[in-house]
Amino acid sequence: MELEKKGIPTVTICTDAFVGLAREEAKNLGMPDLALAIIAHPIGGESLGAIHQRAEDALAQVARALTDAGGPAGARGAPTSAPAPRQLAFADDDEVTEAFHARRWTDGLPFVLPTEARVRAMVAGSGRAPSEVVAVLPPRWAGATVENIAINAVMAGCLPPHMPLLIAAVQAAADPAFGLYSVQATTHPCAVLMLVSGPIVKVLGLNVAHGALGPGFRANAAAGRAMRLVLMNVGGGIPGEGDQATHGSPAKFSYCIAENEAATPWEPFRVTRGFAEGDSTVTVFSGEGPHNINDHVCTSAYTTLAVVADTMTTIGHNNAGSVIRGDVLLVLGPEHAHTIAAGGLGKRDVQRVLFEQARNKVGKLKLRAMYKAENWPDWVDQTDDEALCPIVGRPEDIHIVVTGGPGKHSAFIPTFGTSKSVTRRIEAAGPR
């Protein structure tokens, strides 16, 4: 699309499974007539003979699309999406519920009806004007207004004090470093994980003890769910449309966790990320669902970290192949964290040990798809099958947070791999 804007005719070869996404994206970015040459899905894992057949199938379409013979006509000049009515009237509550589900405006669960009064109260919780656009969210590339966020927050079951957290999280997700377009549109099952650190954890009543990553707590569940509904209804991440995830993930229903600061033997997460002790922050990760790390026997820092490192080095997750453009999250249970800290290790020591130990052999990584395509550190010798490759480019890309209740469990959260986590300060709601 950028090349078309520079006057260069282009054609995009597209497998038929991705035509819907390609056409939507072209329209949403203001070039509805972008030319496609459509071939059968898939191309990955196919023989060279099959690829050559796909090329034959694309040939005439490519030639036509680049020349006057059949290239796309000028833009239609119509607005890319017709303004939808702000208010919708229904006969009763049940009709609203059925209509919202039928229009794919929900996550499939019951929701709170976003009435004018509830939305007004939610907006007030932000201390901002309802029409303020706080971010632009792909793949729909829609401006997310405070009111848009408030409507989805009402549906999710949030309370007005959640609004500053949600706004900061939406802005963090829209940061270019996060790469939200790909996080939303990918076939990979990444969700948008919110990690909250600071005084707001107690204010909102976010759970940091038993079940810190699970259900049973309104503050976590509703905030995470609101983020998902914003990503779907404002950003257009609808499964099979703007969200091409093969399986998706239970993490896509709701994924909001918080730091257990009282149980943390090190500095708080936000301080490691460069914020002040008195700040409250939210960090977004393109997280997969958590993978458990069970270690009931280790009594030293290094043996515990050996178990952690082993869990981090399975080769199916994206960070194993896409190394330098991603980061990962390690959620330590308080007991594991204290075993490690008792060995005299600080957070940076832990990052360094894991950076050195959580490595895969080049020869093993060659078994996995896309290893050549992705991004390894320059110093890894790709010709030596015995050479070791880390899962991130730098020790500080292994982020560590302590949360949860008693027990000998931690969790590893791999990410999309081409996305960096982003932290934002949560601004207190001003008086209005």
């Binding site: 070869i13 006057d68 009709e95 829609a142």
Partner: protein, 93 residues
């Protein structure tokens, strides 16, 4: 008679549509660009299309450019746009 009014949760895209670039009169003498995203088999596919096009037209050459990854936009597109007359990109797995 409607009894309940709720607000629409959907975000609105306000990007104005713009035209694509003018198309070429023909591919004769045109330097063809291949912008590759690194997905498995994608380069083999694009190169084969270019090879087949070159059998039908006297192309001015083929210039391949690699994106840093499928999820990252290409760099230095201004320079690339001066080198090529038309481009083949790809999307999908």
């Amino acid at each position: 008679m409607s009894q309940i009014t709720v607000l629409n949760p959907v975000g609105i895209n306000r990007v104005a549509a713009q035209p694509v670039a003018p198309r070429l009169a023909s591919l004769e003498g045109v330097t063809l660009g291949i912008l590759n995203n690194g997905k498995p088999n994608s380069l083999a596919l694009q190169e084969r299309v270019a090879e087949l096009l070159a059998r039908q037209h006297r192309l001015g050459g083929v210039v391949t450019k690699q994106k840093p990854s499928a999820a990252v936009g290409a760099e230095k597109l201004d320079l690339y746009a001066r080198e090529v007359g038309a481009v083949i990109t790809a999307i999908g797995d």
